[in-house]
Amino acid sequence: MNNTVMMHKDCRNFAPVDVVKGVCHVHKQMVMIDSPVCESYKMLPKCENCNNFKPDSAQADLGVCQAETTEPWTYAELNAVTCEQYRKKKSP
């Protein structure tokens, strides 16, 4: 893991309830979405964690998906748990 502080919104063990909070399936408690993760952190598949994602140089929240030849636009925070083209980055 690099120096970026991971938040619960980045964790696979986190189930969002709403835009500010969710449930940690490991510790079985409500946690804030923007609070730092614990040692049980597991990376959530999403575009920014995918090898196929190429971020936009001007707008970091956006990018393109290089898995398709047409390179459709996408966004960094898009969940990819159901994406068949997701390829986990070695180093997020």
Binding site: K9, N13, A15, P16, V17, D18, V19, V20, V23, H25, V26, K28, I33, D34, Q59, D61, L62, T70, P72, W73, T74, Y75, A76, E77, L78, N79, V81, T82, C83
Partner: protein, 903 residues
Amino acid sequence: MPKKLADILKEKGIPIEFQYGGAAPESLTAREIKKEPGPRAKKLLDLYLNTLSSATIEFPYWYTRKWSELEGEVDIVRRAAALKHAFSHSTPTILPGEKLVMGKTRYYRGSFPNPANSERYFMLKEDELYKAALQKGSAVSDDVIKFGTGGGNVTQDFGKVVSVAGKFGVRQEEVLAMNKVAYEWVGKSVEDVCNRYEQMVPGYDFKEKLMRSSICMFDSGFTEPLGREIMNYYFPLQYGFDGLMELAQERKAEVAGYADGDGITGMDRLYFYEAVGLILEGIQTWILNYAAEAHRLAELETDPIQKSEYEEITACLEWIAHNQPRTFREALQLIYILHIAVLNEDTVSGMSPGRVGQILWPWFEQDMAAGRTTEEEVIELLELYRVKMTCIDALKPKAITAGVSSGNTFNNLCLGGLTRDGQPASNRLEILIIEAAIRCPCPQPTLSVLYDEKLPDDFLLKAIECNKTGTGYPAWMNNKNAIDFLLWHYGPEGMTQEEARAWSIGGCLETSAGSWHELTLNEKTYIIPGGAGQPTSVGVHFLANPKILECLLFNGYDHRVGLQVFPAHNKKLETYDELWETYKQYYEMAVGILTRCNNIQHDIWRKKNMSVFHSMLKPDCLTTGRHIGNMGIRYNGTFSVESCGTANLVNSLASLKMLVYEDKKYNLDQIREAILANFGFITAEETGSYSLAEQVKKEGGETWDDILSDCLSAPKMGNADQFADSILKEYEEWFCNMCTNYESLYAKPLYACQISVSTHGAQGAVTLATPDGRLRGTGYADASMSPYPGTDRNGPYAIFASATCWDQTKSQNSQLNIKVHPSAINGLVGSRKLLELTKAYLGAGGFHIQYNVVDSKVLRDAKANPDNYRDLMVRVAGFTQYWVELGAHIQDEVIVRTEYESV
């Protein structure tokens, strides 16, 4: 100190905060019936009460991505493929303790916008297109529309959350993507395409003015094109998804290349079946993704009980993703999934589950007989179903979500009615549904009893017990009226008496056509009902009756927005007949232009954004190969003209007729001056209160005391007063007939729809003072048969006499709300009184009645101390909503309704 109207009237001996039948106890009175949900449902309901309304762009993103990729494909196939992509990629979330799972989005109370219909309302607020959209007539100005700021409403940005469309929270990191998705639909959405064609209707400018003045509250075709109708769960319940996919494949082979005598839509059948196959694959994958998530959580779980519950979820979902459900739990889970799938397909509100207790009876009966379940287990599942249905949110433009629906989504579950062969249809499962609604009070699904005199008293008294919880449900609907209305309107489409009995309520109280289906489970055959009609409450949306009268009095001019809305009539209005004739002319002009524009909107919708999955569910789309837009559905004459403010219109006409034309105490100019002067009162916008009682007199406002007093004392609807009631009768007979002179895009006559939802607040806010003494900006009377608050002085039976002076079967509905103090109906004796009251009204020909069982003092306390009342619910119009999520217009109106201290 300036006086409030309430104080002035009290001094005059005509208190506006009126209690009929005695005086309420001085202390706050709680509702008599209060039970608790089981621990599992309680935990999940408590979680809901602490959850923010949250939106994500995930589903529209995946939809748009595939839609863009498939440019050039046949539209219905392109749309089905895009929907498949969106369903297949939705992130599954399952929370601990859930037994019924899945949802609209990964959030518990989640929703998303539907850019294929309309895109500008969720753009960045600083975007020029967003600003331009606010200038359009269809966007009612924000100053008249208020959300409640409590509960789960996200009315302001905070932290990393951005408020969208007035009440939905979006994560900041999704905002750019949301804006980008919106931009992909600019010029392509139903709204944008139909707007180009609407402008070809001669006099389109008049339509824009009607919208800008809020005489009409919202367009129909791109806002909520589906809903106010009944789901039909039959096909998946009978055949399972695999069976349906097989059927679609077979039908494709049969129809490919054949027109079969239909040169217009015959060839379309191939594309329809191809689309059906695609959407079924998408929904199947969606379900299986949740099954996989449950499996993943089971692997992660250390608690053996929770682990086994996750495993049960996996087993349930894996089975119903392919097959006919085997158990009550599987069947309930499946109908919930179907419901959410339809809601995700389009922009929808008022998609009602219908007669769930009769639809799920086969599984309940067989599970109970086999000892596979107990009534307590069934009640727990029904409680969980309530919580999941309450979690349904719909992200739409603020004008609609706040101004019309108060954030409600109107999923109406019906009880009772008659079977196909005319016997009472209530059953034991319906008793358990009511029990679950008593134990687990929450807004969805709201309940309606389809009252018929054949229904047994124990069932009816159970429903009354539920009324006494104060949740506002069940509403009471007249089964006989509904059947008469349906046969009158759908007889020409082939409806029989037997089929009319399959009806149900769609949305809050839209009478909707149904059909019967033969379902086989374990070789036993049952007859179950389901929806069989197009969406209702489509066509001409809410016309503000008193506002049209206001324009008439000012020669077509709207003083609030400074606009010549109607062409000047330049008449002196010297007789009441001339006034009434001119009113009708204005009204018909409005209906005429709005019908034409809305027909174009819906036509573009059916060409560009047609329903695939919902069509497939409804008879006879799957058998004929035609989607709803191609009239594959059994009943198509569902478009209507909706009105609002009936009581204030009738009372105003009565006032003018008596004071100006008969007694000649005032002339019209004096009335006009009084209206413009707001009868000497400060406006509601200035006071910030929308209750008539709270309005404050201006310094020097005494000039208008006499005229106000006379206007308030003029005859009022709801008192069995012949003078007022004859005006109501004349209005209703004209209105119900007038609607049928207009034709929908499906070449069927329109009909009258008389509900207010929340528009009586928003449209009251844009209306000047009215000749009945109502002050500027305050709400209209709710519903259509509800008297104006404080004006019903002769008790409930007088209201009934007024309300039934016309033939209510000529309207899709008519609505009456009564507020009853809890002490008025205490005990079994009180229950019987309330039941007798209900029977009396419906027996006299009333279409609908519902009760707010609440102490008005509790509501005032809740207004002052909202933090203490997070779970307080009230009945507004045809729906129940959490008090803290209601806007001030509606809160104030509910508070001042006449309170009945005895029935």
